[in-house]
């Protein structure tokens, strides 16, 4: 048996059994963060806090929600909203957080692309991050089914139909996913399970992987500079805090991080209390009806860009391009052939144009996806969708032409 001595304090008792001092050093006070960063480096912490808000509000909603086609709509719109004290708070926190989390994810993603934070040993951070994006998308979709309103039902119908694979007519697969010919009890039951158990477990596992992948390459900095963390941390610990290029994760970095989180939370709760409407589609306040399609079916704003890539084409080409759009971001570290790890604007004109064009095009696709598919909007949507594909195909070429800076 390992040797234990009489503890001199509670901390010592824990230290002997859990090595809490060492753990604190590894995770917090001697986890080194570059100084050369800005507020965009706080998005990760904002996402952690938002995820926590989703889990806590979800726990309270779960106590009153009833996952049956007969009861679901009323359990949300009557029981939770009208009967349960503060039930509205949990629902609005949950709905607003589900929407805002995607805004922050997109900022986090484009920050990573802009500063080249997926390059040179940071590939796995990017890949695990994109897997988290997929898991969050599945979580958002499955959660959208649960109030069993018109948008829940018809989004469920349309999205599960994607699995028929167009001309492959895999109707058996679609019926297997639904457990019925149309979305019904079996469908609601399994998506409820996915939403409250399986996907959250996957998300938590992926968050662990995402953080683990960050540990060895460390956080990137504004100049993409390769920092010798051993040398710089020694400098810091020897007392030259000003001369060192790094700082402690806690409390140096955390204090600034939580400052940004504070601003975010003020914005977030402003939305929850006064402007939650954007996260509550009015159509979903009609109960699900399998014999009546709403006049316009559109996804929540964060799926609009990929929806717009699906829309202008015939079903097979549309599905192929939709699948392309879903997976192509994962491959970014391998499609970018440039030797440079630095801000997009400093990598020469080609990549700078590529980056800002990609960002603007995603916004255009998002706007067009919301508008009815008619006239000039169809044309703009088509051009934007084609441009999206062309940009990704061009990426390996323009980045291999890039000169070392």
């Amino acid at each position: 048996m390992a040797h234990f001595t009489k503890a001199t304090s509670v901390k010592d008792w824990l230290d002997q059994r859990l090595a809490v001092t060492k753990l604190e050093k590894v995770m917090m006070s001697e986890y080194w963060i570059p100084k050369n960063i800005n507020f965009l480096w706080a998005m990760g912490m904002i996402l952690v806090v938002t995820f926590a808000l989703l889990v806590v509000s979800g726990i309270f909603l779960l106590m009153y929600y009833v996952p049956t086609t007969a009861e679901a709509f009323n359990s949300v719109n009557y029981t939770i909203m009208k009967e349960v004290d503060f039930g509205w708070l949990w629902r609005h926190v949950h709905g607003v957080a589900a929407s805002v989390v995607f805004l922050i994810i997109y900022i986090h993603m484009f920050t990573g692309i802009y500063y080249g934070s997926y390059k040179k040993g940071r590939e796995l951070i990017w890949i695990s991050g994109m897997l988290l994006f997929v898991a969050f998308s599945a979580e958002a979709f499955s959660g959208y089914m649960l109030p069993w309103g018109q948008m829940s039902y018809w989004a469920g119908m349309v999205i599960t139909n994607l699995f028929s694979g167009g001309s492959l007519h895999a109707d058996g697969l679609v019926e297997w996913i639904r457990g019925d010919y149309v979305p019904a009890q079996a469908f609601l039951g399994r998506f409820f399970m996915l939403h409250v158990l399986l996907i959250p477990l996957a998300i938590m596992g992926l968050i662990g992987l995402h953080f683990g992948a960050l540990r060895i390459p460390h956080v990137n900095n504004q100049d993409g500079e390769e920092i010798d963390f051993d040398v710089e941390s020694k400098k810091y610990l020897d007392g030259d805090k000003a001369g060192s290029k790094v700082m402690r994760f806690a409390n140096d970095f955390m204090s600034k991080d939580m400052m940004v989180v504070g601003f975010f939370l003020i914005f977030f709760f402003y939305l929850v209390f006064w402007n939650y409407g954007f996260a509550m589609d009015p159509v979903n306040f009609d109960p699900a009806d399998g014999l009546k399609t709403p006049a316009h079916i559109y996804p929540e704003w964060y799926f609009l860009w990929s929806y717009e890539i699906l829309r202008p084409f015939n079903i097979d080409l549309g599905l192929i391009l939709f699948a392309f759009a879903q997976v192509i971001f994962v491959l970014l570290p391998f499609l970018d052939r440039s030797p440079n790890t630095c801000a997009a604007n400093r990598r020469g004109p080609l990549f700078a144009i590529w980056f800002w064009l990609m960002l603007s095009n995603m916004i255009v696709l998002t706007s067009m996806g919301k508008l009815p598919p008619e006239g000039i909007f169809s044309t703009i949507g088509l051009v934007a969708a084609v441009l999206f594909v062309v940009q990704w195909l061009a990426l390996p070429i323009i980045t291999s032409m890039e000169k070392k800076v």
Binding site: W154, M157, V158, N161, L162, G166, S167, H169, E175, W176, I177, R178, G179, D180, Y181, V182, A184, A186, R190, G290, L291, K292, T293, P294, A295, H296, I297, L310, R311, P312, F313, N314, I315, D316, G318, P372, P373, E374, S378
Partner: protein, 176 residues
């Protein structure tokens, strides 16, 4: 050496047991997600075709899905006769022609709306259009409305049972 080979064998033996268990549980998991027998046995819908009025679109229900029934007016029939792909989709009962289709867009399953002014269907989701015989007029939908399995019983139409007329339609590729 003797030890390590024994461990190797134990590892392989466990692997074999685990593989059998994994395959078994995958089969069980797949089957658990299958539609239930009660769902599969979901009944047949019988439509009395004599009650429909010419040119008036009626939505019926079969297996939770909307069924479009449109008794063709003289004008619709005239248009349909000009196009062989249209006329072959119509079901003839007691001398009258009917469009009977699953009212879900063949793109991604929204319910298109009937427009009485232009005698056609328009899908609000992705802009697909279908004519009065259910044939596709504008992409993205890849084909006309699907026709549910049916059998003709006098002036009645039984949905859910594949009769000879429907089988012929399926064999010639008019419907899926």
């Amino acid at each position: 050496m003797k030890n390590s080979s024994r461990r190797g064998f134990m590892g392989k033996a466990f692997g074999a047991v685990a593989a059998v268990g994994a395959v078994g549980s995958l089969v069980a998991m797949k089957k658990t997600w299958d539609p239930l027998p009660s769902v599969k046995a979901a009944g047949f819908t019988t439509l009395d075709m004599s009650i429909y009025e010419e040119g008036v679109m009626v939505t019926e229900k079969w297996r939770g899905k909307p069924i479009f029934v449109l008794k063709q007016s003289a004008k619709m029939l005239e248009t349909a006769k000009e196009n062989p792909k249209d006329i072959e989709r119509l079901i003839e009962i007691a001398g009258e022609h009917y469009m009977v289709c699953i009212g879900l867009c063949t793109h991604l399953g929204c319910i298109p709306a009937f427009r009485p002014d232009s005698n056609d269907f328009k899908c609000a989701c992705h802009g697909g259009e279908f004519d009065a015989s259910g044939m596709v007029q504008m992409v993205p939908p890849p084909r006309g409305f699907d026709i549910p399995p049916f059998t003709v019983d006098g002036s009645k139409l039984v949905l859910g049972e594949a009769g000879p007329v429907w089988q012929a339609m399926k064999d010639s590729g008019i419907t899926l």
